[in-house]
């Protein structure tokens, strides 16, 4: 996996949202979680496209709930973070921490 070793920013956000929702991660709840936590608008399409990519990378697993009569009998899909996904999140965190360690950022003070 040439690029799969690193999580993209949005991938990381989505993966974190799936983890936070812990078993309640559906397309809609993931979208809402991200919007509420980050305050930025996200489209359902972007969420789904990212979750699918995470699934391809083996970081997220898909499950199907019971058939839902309000969806013409279609089952609702939910997502969980796989062990690989959890380690990817940890790795991302660690990577960032190691880059950040010992760094002092200069900021110009504003009046």
């Amino acid at each position: 996996m040439p690029r799969g070793d690193y999580l993209g920013e949005f991938e990381e956000i989505v993966l974190l949202a799936v983890a936070r929702l812990d078993g309640e991660a559906y397309g809609m709840t993931i979208r809402r979680e991200i919007e509420e936590r980050t305050g930025r608008g996200v489209s359902i399409g972007a969420v789904y496209a990212t979750v699918e990519r995470l699934e391809d990378k083996g970081l997220v697993a898909v499950g199907e709930g019971d058939a839902d009569p309000s969806r013409d009998g279609r089952a609702r899909r939910f997502f969980t973070v796989t062990p690989a996904g959890a380690s990817a999140l940890d790795a991302a965190e660690a990577l960032r921490a190691s880059l950040r360690r010992g760094l002092r950022l200069r900021r110009s003070s504003r009046g």
Partner: protein, 868 residues
């Protein structure tokens, strides 16, 4: 389980998203979005939710497309991947070449958009109103039943006893229900208000097969008491009064002074007999005892499976002829009319809408011709490019495919803009269209695919033509094709323009009809007195009190009251048989008259002239000689050549003889285009009516008059609601709404067609000029003057215009026959209209040829010769 009344997300957006997404996760994504939409809707209302949903779909589009691409790459089918890549390359190339010639692209896309947009919008409207099934289960087995009156009015209301007899003795019809429509009812509450009510027989809900959403339907025993005590209310009424439909069941409301218990609430979608109906009351079974000569019921029925409308008609006619024998005094000559309910509801709007549909089809034809011309012109300009590509190894199929893809890009862009514009037009139309248009609220865009498909076809077939044109010795041929297309456009435009002018002219002559009263500077307001608090003998005194209060207002010139007002469509436009003292009874039920109430000041306030005798006066009291006033139509029909004054008459529903004391001018009471019918006015003081309209003529502005009117009624009794405050001018103008609608819509299409045609002829002439640059250069070099060059170019244009105009006039005459029934006071072949429209088309198209012809004059012979 999702029910039909559940709100659904914006349909177009939803379909769009589903179309963009790959199969594997299509519904997963859409379902999630729908679920969240329901949350958003519950929290922020449907408007916001709609907007939110659209935004989600639009912002999801790139990601959806991306997922689709991933779908493709997962397929390890090399061949299909390659083919897809080639088409993608073509699309990119097409997009680039479209962008490279923005003028051409804009013209083609705009033209397609106008054609498609107008069509999708019109189709959606026509589809909803004319073609789609009524919103009742098994709607095709529903029928509407009328009495057919001996004077030839086939759709006359039914009398209650006739209805009950038909219901009980027809074997071919499952159930027959009667209803009244638009009954004025007053809700007595802290804030009294007027209700639109319908009195129905308990069968109504079973006939329509729509049960209440809450509570129960009406039962036969509900209709047993003379003053029924239950009511069924609309969803909107229940929400307004009690907060939610469920909470309304069991509540008591006071309607027209009688308490009623709400036993059921209809679903929000239920709209029979009309969308604004607030309350349905049971019709007392005792109405069976009423007179057979009072016709005021609407009747609908449901046919059992296998029974045709014809058989139902025969069976009801048999009942009618039995009634004719048994009640020859009232029923002689009366029969029945049975028509499918769908046809009855769509009724008179079918023809205007189909005409509009035809007109918009013409606009699409013109748009197609224009795009074809544009593509032809472009093909000829790009011969060089194709030659180079062929030389570099492109096969004919390659070039062909690229052309198709290019057309497709234009078709999709034009179609999309058109569909979006149409959805906007349709949402505006719901507000602008006349409320009299049946099924108005059922209109929405239905033609998503039908929009793109013709666009695709239109552009596709010509790309083939283009290709042929450029490989063959194409010039003369292409020119001829272009000329023929433009001639056809001119013909269609002229026909549309003539049709539009005829409709506008008939609208003008309709407005020129003298309604028989003076509608300017008159304000109206209605009251409906509480019959419990006021005995009938006090009604007239209350009217007098209000009228006196109004007369004292500054700027008021005349005040009166009457009912029902002309052209108002007010309920109570009943017609009665007439008896003249000293004459044998008139042929039973044949000579019907309209009965009107009036106070002394009514005729002055309305501006109705008194031709003979006098108007009513305050001396005409309940205890004085009963009097009546007739109009000239009455005098002419019943007293031709003699003096009507002094004769005594009575309506068949009335036992009192009234002496005619005045003859007033004829008034158009029901419609401006129909014949004036005879009217009999009775004095409100001698024949009490609880519902009356005050008529105030004054110099002041209508708003302050209206305020004075409310105040005057309130000072007499603050508990009486005043409603329908409006100007008489508005009433008259509402009476011409359907005609205005017809004229406006056809004029709009004629305008679209004209615009496209001008574009088309301009384009074709430009092409002639650029194609003939060399020829013109040679002629200029050989000494041809400007006049000669202009004559050549314009001459070609004129030939096309002449062919177009002649064909157009033939088309216009054919179209005139189609709309003959919609015209009033203007002949289908009105010479003024024909000449005017022709002149307009000729002038405008000539100008469109002159502009490019002008360019031909500036051809520099040296350059044009070198170019070749």
């Amino acid at each position: 389980m999702a029910t039909r009344s559940d709100p659904i997300p914006p349909r177009i957006a939803r379909r769009l998203l589903a179309a963009l997404l790959p199969e594997r996760n299509r519904w997963a994504v859409v379902d999630e979005l729908d679920a969240e939409w329901r949350l958003v809707r519950a929290r922020s209302g449907s408007e916001w939710a709609r907007w939110w949903y659209w935004r989600q779909v639009v912002t999801s589009a790139p990601a959806a497309w991306q997922m689709r691409r991933r779908d493709r790459t997962r397929v390890r089918d090399l061949a299909s991947a390659l083919r897809f890549g080639a088409i993608a390359a073509d699309v990119r190339l097409a997009a680039r070449s479209v962008v490279a010639r923005p003028g051409f692209a804009a013209a083609a896309i705009l033209t397609t958009a106008v054609g498609i947009g107008a069509n999708v919008a019109t189709f959606s409207i026509v589809d909803a109103v004319v073609f789609r099934q009524l919103p009742y289960p098994h709607a095709s087995s529903l029928v509407r039943v009328w009495s057919a009156n001996p004077r030839g009015i086939l759709r006359n209301a039914v009398s209650p006893p006739d209805y009950f007899d038909m219901r009980d003795s027809s074997h071919e019809i499952d159930a027959l229900a009667a209803f009244t429509q638009g009954d004025a009812m007053t809700l007595r509450a802290a804030e009294p208000r007027r209700l639109a009510g319908s009195t129905v027989t308990p069968e109504m809900f079973a006939v329509l097969e729509i049960p209440p959403a809450f509570g129960r339907a009406l039962l036969p025993e509900d209709a047993a008491p003379a003053q029924p005590v239950v009511a069924i209310v609309s969803d909107a009424f229940a929400r307004g009064q009690f907060g939610s439909p469920g909470a309304a069941v069991g509540q008591t409301i006071v309607i027209d002074d009688a308490p009623r218990t709400i036993v059921g609430v209809m679903p929000a979608t239920f709209a029979f007999p009309s969308r604004d109906t607030d309350v349905w009351l049971p019709m007392p079974a005792a109405r069976r005892q009423l007179s057979r000569s009072a016709h005021y019921l609407g009747v609908i029925g449901r046919l059992p499976a296998g029974v045709t409308v014809e058989r139902a008609r025969e069976s009801l006619r048999a009942v009618a002829s039995r009634l004719e024998r048994e009640h020859s005094d009232t029923n002689k000559g009366w029969s029945v009319t049975v028509v499918p309910l769908q046809e009855a509801v769509v009724g008179d709007m079918r023809r205007p809408l189909l005409v509009a549909f035809g007109a918009v089809g013409c606009v699409l034809l013109i748009a197609c011709a224009n795009v074809a011309n544009l593509l032809l012109a472009r093909g000829s300009r790009r011969r060089g490019e194709f030659a180079v590509r062929a030389a570099l190894g492109a096969t004919r199929a390659h070039i062909f495919r690229q052309q198709i893809v290019e057309s497709g890009v234009i078709a999709i862009a034009g179609g999309t803009i058109g569909v979006l514009a149409a959805s906007w037009v349709v949402s505006v139309a719901a507000v602008v269209l006349p409320a009299s248009l049946p099924r108005l609220d059922e209109i929405h865009i239905t033609a998503l695919l039908s929009g793109w498909l013709p666009a695709w076809r239109a552009t596709r077939s010509d790309s083939r033509e283009t290709l042929r044109a450029q490989t063959a010795p194409y010039r003369a041929r292409g020119r001829r094709t272009g000329g023929a297309l433009v001639a056809a456009e001119i013909a269609v435009t002229l026909a549309l323009l003539v049709t539009a002018c005829l409709l506008v002219k008939s609208l003008i002559s309709l407005r020129g009809v003298d309604p028989g009263f003076d509608a300017d500077r008159v304000v109206l307001a209605e009251v409906n007195l509480s019959q419990r608090r006021y005995a009938p003998d006090r009604w007239s005194a209350i009217y007098d009190q209000v009228i006196d209060g109004l007369s004292a207002l500054p700027g008021v010139r005349a005040v009166g009251a009457g009912a029902p007002l002309p052209l108002s469509g007010q309920p109570g436009l009943l017609r009665f048989g007439l008896v003249i003292d000293g004459r044998p009874p008139l042929a039973a039920q044949v000579d019907r008259i309209y009965l009107r109430w009036a106070t002394p000041g009514y005729f002055t306030a309305m501006g109705i002239p008194v031709h003979q005798g006098r108007a009513f006066s305050r001396d005409d009291r309940a205890d004085s000689l009963p009097v009546a006033i007739v109009d000239e139509a009455f005098a002419a029909r019943h007293f031709p050549g003699e003096n009507a004054l002094g004769h005594r008459v009575r309506a068949t529903s009335d036992s009192t003889w009234r002496e005619i004391v005045g003859v007033v001018g004829t008034v158009r009471q029901t419609s401006l285009d129909g014949d004036a019918e005879p009217h009999l006015y009775v004095a409100a003081a001698q024949f009490p009516t609880p519902a009356i309209t005050f008529v105030v003529r004054g110099d002041g502005d209508p708003a302050s008059l209206a305020a004075g009117l409310r105040a005057a009624v309130h000072s007499v009794d603050p508990a009486e609601p005043v409603f329908n405050v409006r100007t008489l001018r508005d009433v008259v103008s509402d009476a011409t709404t359907p005609q205005r609608f017809n004229a406006a819509i056809i004029a709009l299409f004629a305008g679209c067609a004209g615009f496209l045609t001008v574009l088309g002829i301009y384009g074709v002439t430009s092409r002639w000029v650029s194609d003939s640059t060399r020829e013109l250069g040679v002629r200029i070099a050989l000494g041809a003057g400007h006049g000669q060059i202009l004559r050549t170019i314009v001459g070609r244009g004129l030939r096309v215009i002449a062919v177009g105009v002649v064909t157009g006039l033939v088309l216009a005459i054919a179209a005139g026959r189609l709309i003959a029934t919609l015209l009033f006071g203007v002949s289908q072949t009105d010479p003024m209209v024909m000449a005017g429209a022709t002149a307009l088309v000729v002038v405008v198209t000539l100008i469109a040829t002159l502009i490019p012809a002008q360019r031909a004059l500036s051809v520099d012979p040296a350059i044009s010769l070198r170019a070749s």
